[in-house]
Each structure stands twice: as structure tokens, then as C-alpha cells.
Symmetry: C2
């Protein structure tokens, strides 16, 4: 890296961190309607910051749901590739709030980590690329490739607006590669490139027994308790080995080849590591698959939320009329979320005894899983960028989380997707005490610069 | 009934109802610590009302938990029997509040019903006897028997104080019969006398998997979801016929004789009636027992509350670290709540897979079920009182709810317990829109007077 840029990056660190903290103070929770204004404020903040960074054509795109921000710099020349950078500025809810050591929207540095909701997922990782572009423009006045940004505000609530926007604006967004940083590497010293992500289908289940809550003394033993019926239905969704029992659930699941299983076995993450990260007393799940395979290459059905009856302090000997669950399936290639949704819904209704009624309300259309060959030139360019900055070649692996918009990019833009993550496995995504490893933030900016430079050579 | 008393009772109705509404406005929820002051205010209100009624030695008994009120009138002569009247002025919580048609603590008359939390359970039924004594004292200056009142403020939260008070004050409370109105009759035209009540054991279950909430993308498939583990454990507590699967649970259950089953079959309440009352789509439970037997003579295990993970608006694809349930068992003679508690706790721990930890926290020591022969003279006196006022002989039956203090009275005072209820099966006890049938309130006052007069003849 040239000395002037190197010095700039060193000197800019305190300001870059302070700016990120300012963005993280905006509680842009897209799943809660009360925070709609905050999501918009986070978009406005990004617009201002992008202007200072030297980006052009900066647009706050208001939609029926949550806003997006577009920006570009297109003066590298028509012979140079174009990179589209995607990220999101909305964040997950923060409950249970009492488990946070410091408030989720008061970003706090402890040791080498920055604690805040959205620090890693995804404001911090998105901000890396804004600062990379800024560093190049301020030290050299130009970028080695053409760059476009499309940053959305509802990744955590279905990506509805961008899923509609991309097909309608494929020309505006046209690119030779799509760069996304919304994943994690294996450790601060071991970068990784994901070549597959799981998809998603989710729904809320409502079990209704009696028409109103009943006294358990007068009715207990003769009317089915909705909590009990829900527990009985939910318990029937997995067998004792952790395999999902929904008929047909695994029909379309991509079978791992011996070569791919050998490659995945190189990932230094197993029972010991997942137990240390999770604090669970024992590992769970399909015994014929490794932890990396279970979380990356196998589909799941999770009960994300469950409630019914009296859940306050004290006791109330009630037979609840209704009980509820929020469930989600992580999907793998080649599962179709619509088909899985139908299979799960049909099975839930089939499990319902005559004593209750079961309703299933899907939350959105779901997302397909994503898989891309890792010999693609843009992905190899990302690998060289990591190696330059981290001093270690990345490992190629699969990840369990999904990025809903990836499929739309792949389908509508026809460009390879480069998943260049800078999070860590213990970042507490979607949980209390989310954090971002600050050295990854600074190394991320350097890696983003190196990637743009490597792309210029293609 | 003598004309003067009859006229008095007719004219007093609007005032009696207005007084009851005033008492019902006090939100005396004993299970919620925020309402501790309200429980005390409900006791103070009763003290004032009892003074106006002409009772003597009125005492507000403060305790470590909730207060009680004692009062008496002991001038009938030592040759006359003494009746101890028990009731309670604390009430159940009111959630889900949005299902109430009118606010729970703004008592509202609609048609022949008075809607309010506590209207039937148990302020309304307790107040019947205060107004009966008042009517006799104000029209005749005396009572036909000696009367004592002990009214508690924590029936809905374990009756801790009165359970300690009765053994220590057996002389003060000594009586020839204990009269309790905290149950229901079959219809406004069909009185009933309960000769058995179910007991109770209850606990909170905590299932802990990971040490913190996890992202279902990164960990799903390899760490046991606490909601799922809880559902699997709870689902294992009943078989498909509704029978509790806890080993030894039914060991001590009293076997019904053919005679008793024939007597219970006279109760005009079956599948059709319980479906109409509950609004459930089908009846549940042990097929070899009738609805009356299931709810009166068979023990149960209910999940009164259940919660874990993300239960707010929207979605959060989390694997919760913990999940919780509040369970309760209704017990029958001769089940020992301590033994049942141990059996249930042991079984819950046995059901726990190695992937989670299960903790069981019992809420109190529980209560034995209650059973008394119905040829006892005091119970027969109650039967004659009902017949005089309602014009119909009462049916003898069993009830599913429990009144925790009944066992203490039976053991410490050695007096027969007379369960003279004035509620109705559809009073929505412990549920939204609790109500009290106003004709039952007025008929209850007359029946209480008739009972005291019948007791004087024994």
C-alpha cells in the first residue's frame, strides 16, 4: 500500500470510529413500527456521510416500507469494472434489554471491541466500504474501479423494498461484481469467504382451543389447554436426533459431495468451538453431519418465540384459550421457500387435534439459499485482498445466516456475489451485547481498498 | 320469611349492589406486588362495611404477607350453634386486558349480570353473608346463631397468612360449621352443594440451553433451542388420551364407587354443556370418565403460562437461551401435594436431554383435596335453605377448583365445611369479563339468612 494512503488510514482511525459510533446511536429497528422514524434518520445520516466521503448522485429512496440509499462514483473509465456494494443500516430488536452490559444504542468501546446493536450487523461492516472509498478519493482523487452503493433499511424485516427496486432498476445497478459485507470471518487472524448462505421461511402459529381463558379448576381435565396443544404440536416437528419431521422437508436438499465435505472439514470450527461460543451444555442436531455442515448445509426449523397464558409475576391457574409461536426455517440449496412453507403449514394443520384450531400466518415469501462457485475471478480477487491485509489465505466455507437480497442480485444483475465478511463468530448478532472487533473494522477498510485495486486488474 | 325482613331485603337491593360495586373498584390483586396497597384498602373497606352492618370485634389483622379481617356477633346464646363464615377479598390478575368489554375494576351492570374482576370470585359471594347478617340485625336486632367472619386477602396467592393464623387461633375461630361461598351452582334455578374440591400443586419450570440468545443462522441445527426443548418436555407430560404420564401420578387417586358415579351422573352437565360454556371445538381428556368426573374426581396437570424467545411484534430469528412455563396440578383425594410435587419435578428432570438444564421452582407447599360426607347435619341445613329460596332441591356434586384454606379449617377446627356457592359455571373466573349473576346475589342473601335460621334448629 502506498505510504500516503497508509498514513491517511492510520491517522483517520479515531474519526472513522467516532463516525460509526454516531451512526450506531440511531435505533433503526426495522421490525418495530415505533422505530420507523429512526430507520429514516439512519438513512439521512448515511447520505450526509457519503457526501463528505466524496460520493456522487447520492439519493435517499423513500418507499412504501423502509428507505434505501443509492450513491456512486463512476469516473474510473468504461474499460474498468464496476463494483456494486450492498449493506443495510437497519438493526434487530434489542430485547432482552436487561442482559446488555451497556445500553444497545450507546456504543461503548471495551478493550478491542465496540459494543452496540448493529455494530457488526450491519452498520459497522457497511461503513467499512464508505470509509474505503473516502480514503481513496481523499488521497488520490479517484477510485481504481467504478463503484455503486445500494444500502437498504429493512434487511431484518424481509427486504421488501429492495426486492422490488432491483428488478425495476437493473440498469442503474448494473455491475461486474456485488460486494457484500454482512458475514463473519473465522478469527481476527483467519479470513474466510462464504460461498453459500442459507435461505429462510418463517411464520406465526396460533393455536386456539376454548373461546376464552378458562379456570383450570372448573375445566381442567376436560378442555384441551392451548399451551399444551401448542407444545404437543411443536414437539412433533423434530425427532429425537434433531431431524425435522415435516414430510418432504429434505426432498430437495443438495447432497454434499465427498470433496466438498473434505473442504469444509478444513474449517477450524467444531463441537469444542460451538460449545465455547454458545455456552450450551451439549451439541445438538443430526449426528451424521459436522457442526459446520449442520449450520451451513442442512436446513432447520426453529421456534424463535413461543407464548401463551399467564406469563407475568406470580401465578394464575388459567387454561389459556390461545397460544402462539413464531417459527423460522433456514433453507439450503435447492429448497424452494414456497414449497417448504406449504409442507410445514400442511403438517402443522395435520398435527392439530380436533380439540384445537391451528392457524399459520407466513411473514413474507421467504428467501432461497445462495451458492456460488468460488473459482469466480471476483471471488479470487477478494481472496488476494484478504491475503494482502491479513497475511493469511482465506478459507472457503458455508454460512447459516441468510442475506435475503442476494438472490435478487444474482437473478437480476447476473453478477457474481462476493461475500467479504469482517464480523467474528462471537459478535452476538441478534442477541444482547452485539459487538464489532475494532481491528477488523480498520483491517476491513484496508481489505476493501485492496479488493477494489485487485478488481481493477481483472 | 317474615314480612318485615322480606320488605327490608327488597328495598335494600340497590344499596347492596352499589356497596358491592364500590368494593369491586379496588384492584386487590394479591399475586402482584404492585397491588399490595390495594389489597390492604380492600380490607379497610370491609372493616367499615362490617361496622355499618352491626358486627362486633372487627379487626384488621396485618400479617407478613396480606391482611385478613375478623368480625363476630356472639349474642345468640351458648346453647345456639356458632357458624364461622370464610371468604376472600383478593382477586386474580386481569390480563389479557384487551379482551375485557368493560374495564375489570369499573363494575358494570349489563342485563342481569355485574361485570368486574372479583364479582363472583369472591367479593360478591363473600359480601352476601355480610349483607345477610346486616339484614337480620337491622330488622330483628339479633341473629339466630352466633356468627364469626374470617375473610382473607391472599386466597389467589397461596393463603399463607390464614394457614398460619387458624392453627394459632383455633379458640377464637371455634365453630360448629364453616360456611364458605366461593363456588358455583349449576344454573340460576338449580342449586348445588359441593362435597369435594380438588387440591393444588404448582411450580415454574426454567429450561436453559445456551448461555445467551443465539443467531439462528449461525447456530441453528447444532444448538438445542430452549423453546423447542421446553415444548418437547411439556408435550411428554400427557399421553394422547389426556392422561398425565408422570410415573406414580395416579397411585393414590381415590377410586369412585359405582354408587358415587351414579350420583354424579345426575349432575346435568356433560359434553354439550362444557362445549357451550368453553367455546372449545371438542371435549378433551380421559375417555373413560365423564366431564363431571374429569373435572371433579380426576387430577390434572396444566400449563398455565409458557414463554420464551422473541414474543413481540415482528420477527427475530433468535435461538433463545431460556424458556419458561408455569404449571399447576389439580389434585384429588388422597394425593399428597408434596409427593406429587416430587414426582412431577423428578420426571421433568428425567425428561431433560443433555443439551439443556431444567430447573423446577415450586410456588408453595400446595393443598390437599377436600371431601366431606353430605349427610352431615350442617350440609343438610344448607340443602333446606337452598330449597326454601330457590324452590328446588340442590344436587350434590364435586368441583374442580380448590379453596386452599378448607383443609386447615377441617384439620384445626374439626367442624364440617359447608360449601354454599352462588356463582354460575359461566362466570369467567380467572378470565376476562368475570361476572356475577345479580339475582344470585340477592337470592344468596336470602339463602344465607335461611341457612342461619336452619342452623339454629340443629
Amino acid at each position: 500500500m502506498e505510504p500516503k494512503l497508509n498514513t491517511y488510514l492510520h491517522d483517520a482511525q479515531p474519526r472513522q470510529l467516532a463516525e460509526l459510533q454516531e451512526w450506531l446511536r440511531i435505533p433503526s429497528i426495522s421490525t418495530l413500527s415505533a422505530h420507523k422514524g429512526d430507520v429514516h434518520r439512519a438513512a439521512e445520516w448515511l447520505v450526509t456521510n457519503m457526501r463528505q466521503a466524496g460520493l456522487e448522485n447520492i439519493t435517499l429512496i423513500d418507499t412504501d416500507t423502509q428507505p434505501m440509499v443509492y450513491a456512486d462514483w463512476l469516473h474510473a473509465g468504461s474499460d474498468r469494472p464496476t463494483v456494486l456494494i450492498y449493506g443495510h443500516f437497519d438493526v434487530q430488536p434489542v430485547d432482552p434489554l436487561n442482559l446488555w452490559h451497556t445500553p444497545p444504542f450507546e456504543p461503548t468501546v471495551r478493550g478491542d471491541d465496540l459494543f452496540a446493536r448493529g455494530a457488526s450487523d450491519d452498520k459497522g461492516q457497511t461503513f467499512i466500504h464508505v470509509k474505503a472509498v473516502e480514503a481513496l478519493l481523499q488521497t488520490t482523487g479517484k477510485l481504481p474501479v467504478n463503484v455503486k452503493f445500494i444500502i437498504e433499511g429493512e434487511e431484518e424485516s424481509g427486504s421488501g423494498a429492495i426486492n422490488r427496486y432491483v428488478p425495476a432498476h437493473a440498469d442503474q445497478l448494473a455491475a461486474d461484481a456485488v460486494l457484500i459485507s454482512d458475514t463473519h470471518i473465522l478469527s481476527p487472524d483467519q479470513p474466510a469467504i462464504l460461498y453459500g448462505l442459507r435461505g429462510m421461511w418463517r411464520a406465526q402459529i396460533t393455536v386456539t382451543g376454548a373461546s376464552h381463558d378458562l379456570h383450570s379448576g372448573s375445566y381442567g381435565g376436560a378442555i384441551h389447554n392451548a399451551n399444551q396443544a401448542l407444545a404437543e404440536i411443536l414437539a412433533a416437528l423434530h425427532d429425537s436426533t434433531g431431524r425435522v419431521t415435516v414430510p418432504g422437508f429434505y426432498d430437495d436438499v443438495r447432497v454434499l459431495s465427498a470433496d466438498e465435505r473434505a473442504s469444509l472439514a478444513r474449517v477450524p470450527y467444531g463441537d469444542k468451538e460451538i460449545l465455547a461460543d454458545s455456552g450450551a451444555p451439549a451439541v445438538y442436531g443430526e449426528p451424521e453431519y459436522t457442526v459446520v455442515e449442520r449450520t451451513g448445509a442442512r436446513p432447520t426449523l426453529e421456534i424463535n418465540g413461543m407464548w401463551g397464558g399467564f406469563i407475568e409475576e406470580g401465578f394464575k391457574t388459567v387454561i389459556p384459550s390461545q397460544a402462539f409461536a413464531k417459527i423460522s426455517c433456514r433453507l439450503v440449496p435447492n429448497q424452494d421457500p414456497a414449497r417448504i412453507g406449504k409442507l410445514v403449514t400442511d403438517y402443522l394443520k395435520q398435527l392439530a387435534p380436533p380439540t384445537v384450531r391451528v392457524d399459520v400466518q407466513k411473514s413474507h415469501d421467504g428467501a432461497f439459499a445462495f451458492l456460488t462457485p468460488y473459482d469466480t475471478p471476483a471471488i479470487q480477487a477478494a481472496g488476494r485482498a484478504y491475503t494482502q491485509v491479513f497475511g493469511t489465505e482465506p478459507i472457503f466455507t458455508l454460512e447459516g445466516g441468510g442475506i435475503p437480497v442476494v438472490n435478487v442480485f444474482q437473478k437480476e444483475l447476473g453478477a457474481p456475489i462476493v461475500l467479504m465478511g469482517f464480523g467474528l463468530p462471537d459478535d452476538n448478532l441478534h442477541a444482547p451485547n452485539e459487538k464489532f472487533h475494532i481491528p477488523n473494522f480498520y483491517n476491513g477498510i484496508r481489505t476493501s481498498i485492496a479488493f477494489l485495486q485487485e478488481m481493477a486488474k481483472l
